[in-house]
């Protein structure tokens, strides 16, 4: 039952996010547009490029969708509303999202095209930059909760959300999550102005539809993770817990969407340099500060 509810919530969020995305780009609020363009994808010819690596080409969009849903499976909407309340939830989400990289490498290598291939390998470089900034802030979150269980992590924020307790970790995680979801300004693997779509470039029709759905789901999953780890998950007054989770998740997802509109794409070299020379020392500092707080403050 939980499975169905969480999946529906995920789908609903994806739909809302797509509506908002359309609103910011075209200036028109059209609630039916995501469904119509989804249907249009089904109707269009789905072209397979010449001499593809067929297995990779077909698997990549589906794999991306699966890992995004798997990541969402350990994130609670309400105290009992979670598909799998794993004892290693905070680690599991990392494991699931590591396969975003695999999916993108497959999507890059599969179609046998230069733009796509460069996009796919670019994301590997991007992973080297952001990966530590996903894992290390989560470490600090788990330190406060003294658990890897996501429901316990939300429980530990009763009274004081992690965004206040460890603001540095929140900022680092938010940026790294945008890089993981390859949203602008970190859209190096797709980069319309540089690679003409990159890993998306050779996908058409129903395959492109799946790929787009997967990308939006990934954003929602990461926004939901930000909510669970930093924004107190389901905590909030008046409204029921699940409503708070959804509101916060959507707010984070939309802010990720909007941030990209007002920034130019980051240079690959800058991303790498800033993440390693600034991000990782700050993440270590965050761990030290949280460690001291956990020891000193009862």
């Amino acid at each position: 039952m939980n499975f169905v509810i969480v999946l529906l919530a995920l789908l609903g969020s994806v739909w809302l996010l797509a509506v908002v995305e359309g609103w910011t780009t075209t200036g028109r609020l059209r609630p039916a547009a995501p469904l119509l363009s989804g249907l249009a994808h089904l109707g269009r010819e789905s072209i397979v490029p010449r001499t593809p690596d067929r297995v990779f080409f077909e698997t990549a969009p589906v794999l991306l969708l699966i890992v995004a849903v798997l990541g969402a499976a350990v994130l609670p909407l309400a105290p009992t509303l979670v598909i799998a309340d794993l004892a290693t939830g905070a680690l599991f989400i990392n494991a699931a999202l590591a396969y975003v990289l695999v999916a993108l490498i497959m999507a890059g290598w599969g179609p046998n095209g230069a733009y796509a291939m460069i996009g796919g390998w670019r994301f590997l470089g991007q992973l080297i930059a952001y990966a530590m900034l996903i894992v290390m802030p989560i470490t600090a979150v788990a330190m406060r909760a003294e658990s890897l269980v996501t429901t316990v992590i939300v429980g530990s924020q009763d009274g004081l959300w992690n965004i206040v307790y460890q603001p540095l970790g929140f900022v680092l995680f938010f940026i790294a999550a945008m890089a993981l979801a390859f949203r602008a300004p970190f859209d190096l693997p797709t980069a319309p102005g540089e690679l003409g779509g990159g890993v998306d470039a050779e996908y058409t029709g129903v395959r492109l539809g799946v790929l787009r759905l997967a990308r939006l789901t990934l954003v929602i999953t990461l926004a939901s993770a930000t909510t669970v780890f930093y924004l107190g998950g389901w905590h909030g007054p008046l409204l029921p817990p699940w409503a708070w989770s959804l509101i916060k998740t959507l707010a984070v997802a939309v802010s990720m969407l909007l941030a990209g509109r007002y920034l130019p794409r980051i240079r690959e070299a800058d991303l790498m340099r800033w993440c390693w020379t600034l991000g990782i020392p700050l993440a270590l500092l965050n761990i030290i500060v949280v460690g001291l707080l956990v020891l000193v403050v009862p």
């Binding site: 780009t25 230069a114 733009y115 460069i118 390998w121 670019r122 602008a184 300004p185 859209d187 190096l188 980069a191 319309p192 102005g193 540089e194 690679l195 003409g196 990209g260 509109r261 007002y262 920034l263 130019p264 794409r265 980051i266 240079r267 690959e268 070299a269 800058d270």
Partner: protein, 314 residues
Amino acid sequence: MIEVTKDLPRSADGLAMDWMEVPFGPVFPGLPGGLKLTLTLDGDGVTEGQATSLVGMINESEEGKEIDAETFIERLASAMPLASVSYRLLACLAIERAAGLENDSATDQARAVALECERIASHLGWLAQTGRQLGFAWLTDRAATLQLEIRRASGKRLLELTPALHALAARLGRTPLLKSRLKGIGILPSGTAGLSGPVARAADDAGDAWARLWQRLDEIITSLDYIKATGEPGLPVLRNIGRGSGTGEATVETPRGEAQLSLILEHGQVKSYRLDTACSHHIGLVAKLVEGRELGDALVAVGSLDLSPWEVIS
């Protein structure tokens, strides 16, 4: 393995990889339409590259074919869709000089204002294109909206748009990541010959994409001030030349640099002409700018030249 790779060309990092020749354009989201960039890629680094225009004019009037002066102006203006007013003005000036007409200060002034209007619109168009290349959606929307407004605007409406243009420049100065994205990209070697327009004026500064951005933003403001001081724009229209004959030469500082036209007029008909534009020279700089750069940086460098493929004369 050594036998297989020993003769492969080596890139700067010493790795022997298969090099790919990849076309960018003529229809590529990050480049002006009609421009074809062929890059030889070593991974995501560019080892060499060259740009060609697929829509440029051919600098040859057909043998023995005379063109009516008005038709010539229309043809030249429509052959340069990104700067039609400038080339209309250029053709008018050259023909009038060939016919021996004296300058008329009132007409000149209105024409100069029209040219400056086009300069603002053209620079805004470049900003929109740059926004598209950099994935900077806000800039694309804003600059494109302003560009359309300015193309339709009268002198008074232009002055109303002044705060918006100032705000755009201020906003770009405050935008995070933009400076790190453009600074130090597309530096031209000192003493590069054949530069003109904003590219040449920015070369005195740092000579990189960041300097070119600010050169164009400054030019927008300067042009606005000029329009404010001068008056209404007037689209260049050919004055009555009768059936004059002679040779004429004119130079106009188009938004992309200096354009020069010399022609021979016979009884009100253009017999032959010779056109020289800034972009014809600038397109040759591409090879130097992209060599050894990361792909994204190479494309930013090419974009910062503001090449108009229509203005490349072959």
